[in-house]
Amino acid sequence: MRETAHLFGTEQSLFGVVTHPQEGSASRTGVVILNAGQVHHVGPNRVHAGVARHLAGAGFITARIDQSGKGESPVRSGLVRTESLVRDFDDVESYMSSLGVDRYVIFGLCSGADDALIIAHQRQQVSGLALLDSFVEHNRLRYVDYVLRTALDFYWVRHAPRNVVPRVKGLLLNKGNQVDVRDWDEPEVMNGYYNDFIDRGGNLIAIFTHGARYYSRRGQLASALGASRGLKEIYLKDASHTYCERAHRESMYSHISEWMLQTFPEN
């Protein structure tokens, strides 16, 4: 396995690191990893570097990029969000196709998952989505449900001094990090993105953690979409939103690489 650093696109402005599998073992399915919020291409707790190397070990060429306006990549001026997202994808696709890749899986955590859905809606080459704590339709009782789950969850009680106390303190001081920064469209639009993707034969793995406060029951996404075809849904109940613990990161890496090998088995 080796990694190469790139500036993609005709303007040579889109930064990315490509992880190459061993010589001669590369699949025709490539993976593009998007930013998690404002965190650069290494990912929170090095998740993006970890998943890229895990997937390259399984034979998939993987590019983790800094989307325009994040990390090392400058903003594409004059473009709205969707246009910028698609241009980024086109630039990295142009490079990966030169390596023999002709279908793509997009990996996204948090807002990266939201961006992945939008790109998949715009580009037919996207055959798979690996989404962590992505959008799922929820009801108004979700916070009550979240509090109950937290109170009854031994993991969070055990970690209370580190996790709960600072959050409560932050909320009381009105300085907490509970601000909802996700930029979701209306539920019917978001569900439409999912359904259109699955209807055209796309495959999706959605992994949710305890950190997704709006996720209150297993199978919630399948239930909201009214179908389970093309969808694998997993709940890692002890994992935090940014996968702070090694065991949870490794569990997530394994789930995704197993799903990749089953869904795109032509290695």
Binding site: E3, G37, P44
Partner: protein
């Protein structure tokens, strides 16, 4: 901006910004902080690198072994690897730019690592940003559970480090930086391990309300600190 992996095997990641105007014959090495702190300061350090390139510096910033984009297995890393990375960055930049004059901007624990090589390298100006002088202080903030490991490693924000390396970090001390002209930008929450005046460090206080323990997204943008650092370098 030229991102690349260096070495044989190519496992050392760094980004070079060659000067965009009349060259000063002066290079700047940026030693970023470690782990999560590297993420929080990334935007600010990129801004500083771009400013410095516009001002005529050749700039190099890099990821310490076993962190960020480095291809080095983090469980094989020791203190000598991280101080060796500073040496490697200095060598690489000297080779690429041909400049003999070099300044170093070092953030948090990066300062202790840069200071430890400053005695044997010809560094013109060492600028710190909330410098950590002792590894013990930095580790105390990490709240590491040294008892809770099964394979001889501890997980620090996504990076598995040998328990033996943690002991090396605990012993890392910076008692003085007399061999080099030193200054430091400090934010509101910074506290010194020793009085900086006894260390030969000139201090400039930044009004940025940075808190290294509980970073908020707003702190990706430490405008005043960036401005003061650029002032110190110019």
């Amino acid at each position: 901006m030229l991102p690349a992996y260096f070495g044989d095997p190519p496992d050392f990641f760094g980004i070079t910004h060659m000067s965009e105007t009349t060259r000063r014959s002066h290079s700047l090495i940026i030693c970023q902080p470690l782990l999560g702190e590297a993420i929080w300061t990334h935007w600010a350090l990129k801004q500083i690198a771009q400013w410095a390139a516009q001002e005529g510096y050749d700039v190099f910033r890099f990821d310490f072994s076993g962190t960020g984009n480095s291809m080095v297995d983090s469980t094989s890393v020791g203190l000598a690897s991280w101080t060796g990375d500073v040496d490697r960055a200095l060598d690489l930049m000297q080779e690429r730019s041909g400049n003999s004059r070099v300044s170093v901007l070092a953030v948090r624990l990066g300062f202790a690592l840069a200071a430890s090589v400053s005695f044997r390298r010809d560094i013109e100006n060492l600028v710190g940003w909330d410098p950590v002088l002792d590894g013990r202080t930095w580790l105390a903030d990490r709240k590491i559970d040294l008892e809770n490991h099964s394979d001889g490693t501890v997980d620090l924000q996504g990076i598995a480090l040998q328990v033996g390396f943690i002991a090396e970090l605990e012993a890392l001390e910076t008692r003085n930086v007399d061999s080099v002209q030193s200054s430091a930008i400090t934010t509101a929450g910074h506290s010194w391990d020793y009085p900086p005046e006894h260390m030969g460090i000139d201090v400039v206080k930044s009004p940025d309300a940075w808190n290294w323990r509980e970073p908020l997204p707003a702190l990706f943008y430490a405008h005043e600190s960036v401005r003061l650092i650029c002032e110190q370098l110019s």
